[in-house]
């Protein structure tokens, strides 16, 4: 860890969002840097259209979920704003099999919604470790919150900017991080994009 960082006074645990045991210690920042690096690598694979290699970053038991967001009355957000994993209809509620099918489909070269391929950039920011198990020092599983901005340009004039939050659980497998749980919360109600052919 750089000396500048280690000289910073850690933010006390009670001021950190989420799990109060996640104090901003040196271990925290080291882990965060590690996770950020993982995200940049992941984004690079997706944006370089290396979809098969991207699939390798997902555990076999991944749960990949994007709820539909609803306009609800004040006070009901917790209970009703988002559709739920494992119930009813969402934008995505998927496992590795379906995600692999999606990659296979793009790679047929005749998936017209992605043929010719879109130009896509993923930006990942606001990364925060929310929990680490068994601890920050020797984390084998981490819960991570981040923001994501996905820019898509298709064919000539079609562009979509999808912005949202991402809540992940990453697991250390053979010394590298893999995503085992992902929730993508887009900041939209009626989807203002014709298709969701990209990965998040």
């Amino acid at each position: 860890m750089s000396s500048a960082l280690s000289q910073t006074k850690p933010i006390p645990a009670e001021k950190c969002a989420g799990n109060p045991s996640i104090a901003r210690t040196e271990h925290y920042y080291r882990l965060k840097a590690d996770v950020e690096d993982f995200y940049y690598y992941e984004a690079d694979l997706l944006d370089a259209r290396r979809f098969r290699e991207w699939l390798d970053l997902l555990t076999e038991d991944i749960s990949y979920f994007m709820p539909i967001r609803r306009n609800v009355k004040f006070g009901q957000h917790e209970a009703r704003e988002n559709t739920r994993r494992g119930e009813g209809i969402s934008w995505f509620d998927e496992d590795k099999w379906t995600l692999t099918k999606r990659v296979d489909q793009i790679l047929t070269g005749v998936h017209y919604a992605e043929e010719p391929l879109s130009r896509i950039t993923h930006m990942v920011t606001n990364v925060q470790i929310k929990d680490a198990r068994p601890n920050l020092d020797q984390a084998e599983e981490v819960d991570v919150a981040s923001r994501i901005l996905v820019y898509q340009n298709r064919v000539e004039y079609e562009t979509y900017t999808l912005v949202g939050r991402r809540n992940d659980t990453l697991r250390l497998v053979d010394n590298s991080w893999k995503v085992c749980r992902r929730e993508i919360i887009l900041e939209q109600n009626i989807l203002l994009a014709k298709n969701l052919t990209m990965f998040f």
Binding site: M66, I68, R70, N71, V72, K73, Q76, T83, G86, G88, I89, S90, W91, F92, D93, E94, W97, T98, K101, R102, D104, Q105, T108, G109, V110, H111, Y112, A113, E114, V155, E158, N189, I190, L191, L192, A193, K194, N195, L196, T197
Partner: protein, 448 residues
Amino acid sequence: MTQKDIDGLVDVKNGFISRELFVDADIYKQELSKLFTRAWLLVGHESLVPNPGDFYTSRMGEESVILCRDKKGEIHVFLNSCRHRGMKVCRYEQGNTSLFTCPYHSWTYTTDGKLQGVPLYKSLYDGVLDREANSLVSVARLCNYKGSIWATWDKDAPDFLTYLGDAKAHLDQALDCRDGRDGGSEVIGVHKWVFPANWKFAAENFLGDTYHNPSHRSVDLIGIGPSAVSGKKGRRDNELEHAQHVWISFPAGHGVHSAIQPEANEYIESFLDNPVLEQYFRHCYEERKRRLGDGARLMPFVGTIFPNTSYHGRQPRGLCAWHPHSPTSTEAWRFFLVDKDAPSEVKDYLRHYYMRYSGPAGMTEQDDIENWLYATAASTGTIARRYPFNYQQSMGAYTTDHPLGGELSLQVTEQIARGFYRRWASYMRDADWGELLGLPAGNREAAE
């Protein structure tokens, strides 16, 4: 629109439809005023409002409406706009309430649409404001058909079943339980999204446009059906393998692609990936056969109820409203259906299948939407508009004396699309309901 204008746009006889119908702002406006104000439109499903006070905001044409079950349990559909200055009185998608309170000046409306509270009524409005006359604007007619809710703004419209005509037997199979019981379905979720294509591309897609199959090559190659893990390719299982496919254009403008099972009518294994499902659907199949007898041979596939409601009768089962959003954009709402009393494992499997098949994240539908978008975009040009779309497929290849009614074809055909635009033209020239239903000239009075 004059007869001459319409003849220049819709030439059903020779099989040409002008591109103006898909891009022109003026024509779009006329559709809103002449067609969407008269035809029966899908609003939702009773399972979205199961209890008194439940509401669900929906759309009819471009406009927001509230589907609401009042305190007494009766279902209503109102325009979602305050009678005072037009504020949208309900901006929640779904919920339960005893009153709709307008955010602007706080007029309140009861769940049956009646204006109740008017702030400072005594001092500002007494003796002038007639509450009754300032209720939320209600649709002219409403129908709860096997749980699906339909409405029209035209008080002279025929009842819904008359409007459906012989298309009923086909739509039924999207709404009925898999074992042949009437109705009994529920909505397990709704997709809503906007895509830049004219609404008629989507409506037409389900009007028996089986011809567009090649556009789904990618999903057919990889296989995402209920037996995909067991090695079957394709986007669904071929339950209609031995059936006689039929394409039918109905006189009111509806069109369906269904299939008739052979007389032996045996269950074809599908859902191989999951024994619980396989058993459930086999059981439903036998039950349906027992209940409906020979009628069970008719199997639904897809269809469009004029003008903008489509259904998937098998899987992914559901109803879809293609709401006009602008001349070149559509707001799609897809209501996914399952048997209400299906085992939870069946429901869970189906919802996954629906999500990977349909909608903007659906591996099948994505390719449809791509086509609709670029077909719309490439038709806006001045030169492009001079050249009408070609609808000459299977000209004349149909019979009118089949027991299923309508103009029935045994081959893939654009006769259904031609029938759709024939009716579209009737609405554009403000035809009477006899013509809108496509009744022979002699029988028209009965419908009025």
